[in-house]
């Protein structure tokens, strides 16, 4: 039987506010345990939450970025359950009236086609603390630094049909929140985590199959692997005559499998009710317009502009708009050198290669966008050839020289275009290579094209790479053919 996979994602994005969602404690990552938890975060008796306005603004910006409805009124609810790292015995969340309503996100697939994924809603909530099970001799340590950190939970419709689509969606969300600057998007530090709802159904069937929810998957790669495993598990189960049960599962990246955590019957009754300590959040039109006016250009708009105005391919436009930093770097290079295609090639080729080798992000690139743009300009105006350009790039990367012109000057890489000088070098090479000349002369005419490469190489070597390769080629051919 042909199976179809149905996937929906709940993405938890940690908002980059300075302080917590309901208290003034800092949200900075990595502090000593329990040093960033104030009386409100500890849930001490008598203290009250006060909503962080910055968290509201960030949630609304996300909503505007995904063209969502922003309801005038949203309400915080309490989700009640006991857990040692949940200090109040409830999590303040938004169950019935979320801050962001229905919206949509465009994702780009590997074949450069796009697809729209609907967002059901997004709501604000507070994070819990962390339970630490090691180093306490059978006891559990509790670190409440993270308790009260603002999260935006973005809930998609079950619109994805493959692990690749799910990963593309997650990347799209990642790129929107980082473009907006509302999250650092750092998955390793838990700034973005997601719960994946997966089900399968026979192709053509309209009704959804029973879904399993895979909790807390925290990398793009894990999302794909968890889904791949889960889909295979469910199909096998059904084909063997079994039934998928609605349950919560955990992905184990070490063993590359998902395991059951609890079934629907074991699920908590969270006893949601409106939080009486917080007023409903009321947003007026003027506030929304103010935030809308501050939105940066978003990935989808950038991608379209890169294609339509700069003439980039869909692939290039997609890669270069994936992160705000990458896009901004590319645009600066393009502005300086004036050639989008060349800028795209250099940023994705030489630069990305070097960054990857040294595991650097583009913000930390040793070669600035300005430097790279100037370097490309020197290629475009024939000051240097492509080979020399790579040397200049390497020199700039290593910090040898302030800019391309300085490196070109210092290393004498300026391209030789003087025909007389090139002819002199060619004559010398021909004179010093009698055997190769003889071979050239004796070859079939169609094979001579290949053999000319040897002579070009020798001439380039003699010029220390500075001769214009096209010129060398043309003159060489003339001179060799004259010897026939």
């Amino acid at each position: 039987m042909q199976w179809e996979t149905v996937i929906g994602l709940e993405v938890h994005v940690q908002l980059a506010t300075r302080s917590k969602i309901f208290s003034g404690a800092s949200t900075a990552f990595g502090a000593e345990p329990n040093t960033q938890a104030c009386a409100v975060d500890l849930g001490l008796p008598g203290v009250l939450p006060v909503l962080n306005e910055q968290a509201v603004a960030m949630a609304v910006q996300f909503g505007l970025a995904v063209h969502a409805e922003i309801p005038e009124v949203s309400i915080f609810d309490r989700k009640n359950y006991f857990y040692p790292d949940l200090p109040k015995g409830y999590q303040t969340s938004q169950m019935y009236h979320p801050i962001v309503g229905a919206g949509e996100v465009e994702i780009t697939l590997d074949d450069d086609t796009t697809k729209r994924i609907r967002i059901h809603h997004a709501h604000l909530e507070e994070d819990a603390g962390k339970s630490l099970h090691e180093d306490f001799q059978g006891m559990t340590g509790i670190d409440l630094n993270r308790a009260g950190t603002p999260l935006l939970e973005i809930v998609s419709e079950p619109d994805m049909r493959s692990a690749k689509e799910a990963a593309a969606y997650l990347k799209a969300i990642h790129s929107i929140v980082t473009y907006l600057g509302i999250s650092d998007g750092n998955m390793a530090e838990g700034s973005m985590r997601c719960d994946v709802n997966v089900s399968v159904r026979p192709k053509g069937q309209e009704a959804f199959g029973t879904r399993a929810e895979i909790k807390n998957v925290n990398s793009f790669r894990f999302v794909e692997r968890a889904i791949a495993f889960e889909v295979e598990r469910q199909i096998e189960l059904i084909e063997d005559g079994g039934k998928v049960v609605q349950e919560t599962r955990l992905f184990d990246p070490e063993r590359d499998e998902t395991r059951s955590m609890r079934t629907k019957e074991e699920a908590n009754d969270y006893r949601y009710f409106p939080c009486p300590d917080l007023l409903p959040v009321v947003l007026d039109q003027a506030y929304l317009e103010h935030l809308r006016s501050q939105l940066p250009e978003l990935p989808a708009d950038k991608r379209a502009r890169f294609q339509n105005e700069l003439g980039l391919s869909a692939y290039d436009a997609n890669v270069l708009s994936a992160s705000r930093e990458m896009a901004e770097f590319f645009e600066e290079v393009q502005r300086v050198c004036g050639d989008a295609k060349q800028a795209a090639n250099w940023v994705q080729g030489e630069l990305s290669g070097a960054l990857n080798r040294e595991n650097l992000s583009i913000q930390n690139s040793p070669v600035s966008a300005q430097q790279l743009g100037e370097l490309i300009r020197r290629v475009l105006d024939d000051t240097i050839n492509g080979k020399a350009a790579k040397q200049v790039f390497q020199a700039l990367w290593n910090g040898q020289g302030e800019n391309a012109d300085a490196v070109i000057e210092a290393k004498g890489l300026k391209q030789v275009t003087d025909t007389g000088a090139i002819e002199a070098m060619i004559d010398q090479v021909i004179a010093e290579s009698p055997a190769q000349v003889a071979q050239y002369r004796d070859s079939e005419p169609e094979k001579r094209g290949k053999m000319i490469g040897y002579f070009v190489g020798q001439v380039m070597k003699a010029s220390r790479g500075t001769a214009n390769p096209q010129q060398v080629n043309g003159v060489l051919k003339e001179k060799l053919d004259a010897l026939l």
Partner: protein, 486 residues
């Protein structure tokens, strides 16, 4: 001194007739000598009080005294106080010392008042008799076999006994007004949002409100001046100017329109209480007020709605007492479940457990709409009843409680206890202010007249109550207990 009002004591301090140290030590001695028979305090902070009194005297000598500088007070043990235990009447918090002061406490300190200690109360403010305290029942100074009312029973008894001229209470369903009535003092529950809840241990957050308990409405006005106002730490406190409540106390009452809700004079009302209340209304008529009967048709739904909403909020508010970070923790827990179960089973008393169970049930899946959602609808109707009534009249009057103080141990059945709050509970559901003033006696025990106004009508309520106290002397009468221990 113990029979003086805050206003009188403040004048004596101002004139130099008394020092705050003399005053403070006088009241501390009374507590020391006689509270053994009342049990109105959980914690007495004599040393701190004396050093605060010395500071107050110094401030006065330096010309820096305010109206209330040097006045001793007591705080219900629900207000968090830095460095002094805040138990909320519970074993659960017997070891709890807050690292912060409640906003009310901060404001009272800033005004120069002196706290003599923390008063007894029903555990987590759940009760109408003060019998639900981990620290034992409080006795009514008018009759040691009677309850003082609850949940602010310790504060009411302490004021009535002349241990302090005034005390702070909280009122979620009548917890200021009913004990004030039972103990023959004046108690004001302000509009929800008028006084910050920050640092007040929550029972039912949408209903809790702090207020003053004193001998007179005038004293309540002085204290409300200090504690009222918006607080950035409490989002439900209202950003609205605070008038000087003492300025309008003497406004004449001619033309005042009084409504008597017919539902507040029905079955279950003690005839002597009714008589006292009707006499009080006559006093108002003699002051130029007009009286008419009004109806609050949803009154009889108030108790059921309250006992859905308040326990629902309480079940969630009290989840933080889990033995993990503070409060009572059972000995050698076997595992997490055992830690939770035993810490909570040992730390909470019967009534608290009952309300947590009720609240957990009414919020649970399949019951939520039938209980919680419905109760919220009822709450809106009750609020509307009051708003409709205030279209026609300025204030509503009736008894604060259907009976005078009952005997200790008399109400064994929780529902009969809940019915005690029949006239006070709707006020919290509607969020309006209410005041109870002494209006006579029934069977030798005090009767409270309850006066209700619309949202933020505190100035009017205090004016109406004050004018009654100018015309009557019920509020000046002291129990024999207070005299014997003078």
């Amino acid at each position: 001194m113990h029979d003086k009002t805050v206003t009188q004591l403040a004048a004596a301090l101002k004139s130099g007739e008394l020092s705050s140290r003399e005053l403070t030590s006088h009241f501390l001695q009374r507590i020391e000598k006689a509270d053994g028979s009342l049990n109105s305090f959980i914690t007495v902070t004599a040393e701190q009080a004396m050093s605060q009194a010395a500071a107050a005297d110094k401030a006065r000598a330096d010309g820096k005294a305010g109206k209330l500088t040097g006045i001793p007070l007591a705080l219900k043990d629900i207000f968090c106080t830095q460095d002094v235990k805040t138990s909320c009447g519970s074993k659960m918090l017997d070891n709890f010392i807050a690292p912060y002061n409640a906003t009310v406490v901060e404001k009272l300190r800033a005004a120069g008042t002196i706290s003599l200690g923390k008063t007894n109360m029903d555990e987590f403010a759940m009760g109408s008799s003060n019998e639900n305290s981990h620290y034992g029942a409080v006795k009514n100074p008018w009759d040691l076999s009677a309850v003082p009312g609850g949940s602010s029973g310790g504060s009411a008894a302490a004021v009535a006994a002349g241990f302090v001229p005034a005390a702070m209470g909280t009122d979620t369903g009548g917890s200021i007004r009913q004990p004030a009535a039972f103990c023959g003092i004046t108690g004001l529950k302000p509009t929800y949002g008028r006084v910050s809840r920050y640092g007040i241990i929550a029972y039912a957050s949408s209903l809790d409100q702090a207020g003053p308990m004193a001998r007179t409405a005038e004293d309540c006005a002085l204290l409300l001046n200090v504690i009222a106002g918006h607080d950035v730490r409490d989002s439900t406190s209202v950003a609205r100017g605070v008038p000087d409540y003492t300025e309008t106390l003497n406004a004449p009452l001619s033309g005042l329109k009084i409504g008597l809700p017919k539902e507040y004079f029905g079955d279950g009302l003690d005839p002597e209480v009714e008589k006292a209340v009707r006499e009080a209304v006559k006093v108002y008529e003699s002051l130029g007020a007009t009286v008419r009967e009004v109806s609050l048709p949803h009154t009889h739904y108030a108790i059921p709605a309250y006992y859905v909403i308040a326990p629902a909020e309480a079940s969630s508010n009290l989840s933080r007492y889990d033995g993990v970070r503070f409060g009572h923790r059972c000995d050698s827990p076997l595992d997490l479940q055992d830690l939770y179960t035993r810490s909570r089973a040992e730390g909470f008393g019967e009534e608290v457990k009952r309300r947590i169970l009720i609240g957990t049930h009414t919020l649970s899946e399949g019951f939520f709409d039938a209980y919680y959602t419905k109760a919220q609808k009822v709450r809106r109707l009750i609020r509307q009843d009051f708003l409709d009534a205030f279209e026609d009249v300025d204030v509503l009057m009736g008894p604060a409680s259907p009976t005078p103080a009952f005997d200790l141990g008399a109400k064994k059945d929780p529902v009969s206890m809940y019915l005690q709050d029949i006239y006070t509970i709707a006020v919290n559901l509607a969020g309006i202010p209410g005041i109870s003033v002494p209006a006579g006696f029934a069977g030798g025990r005090p009767v409270g007249l309850q006066i209700l106004g619309t949202h933020f009508a505190e100035a009017q309520l205090l004016n109406v109550a004050h004018q009654f106290q100018q015309a009557t002397d019920w509020h000046t009468q002291l129990p024999a207990f207070a005299e014997e221990n003078a």
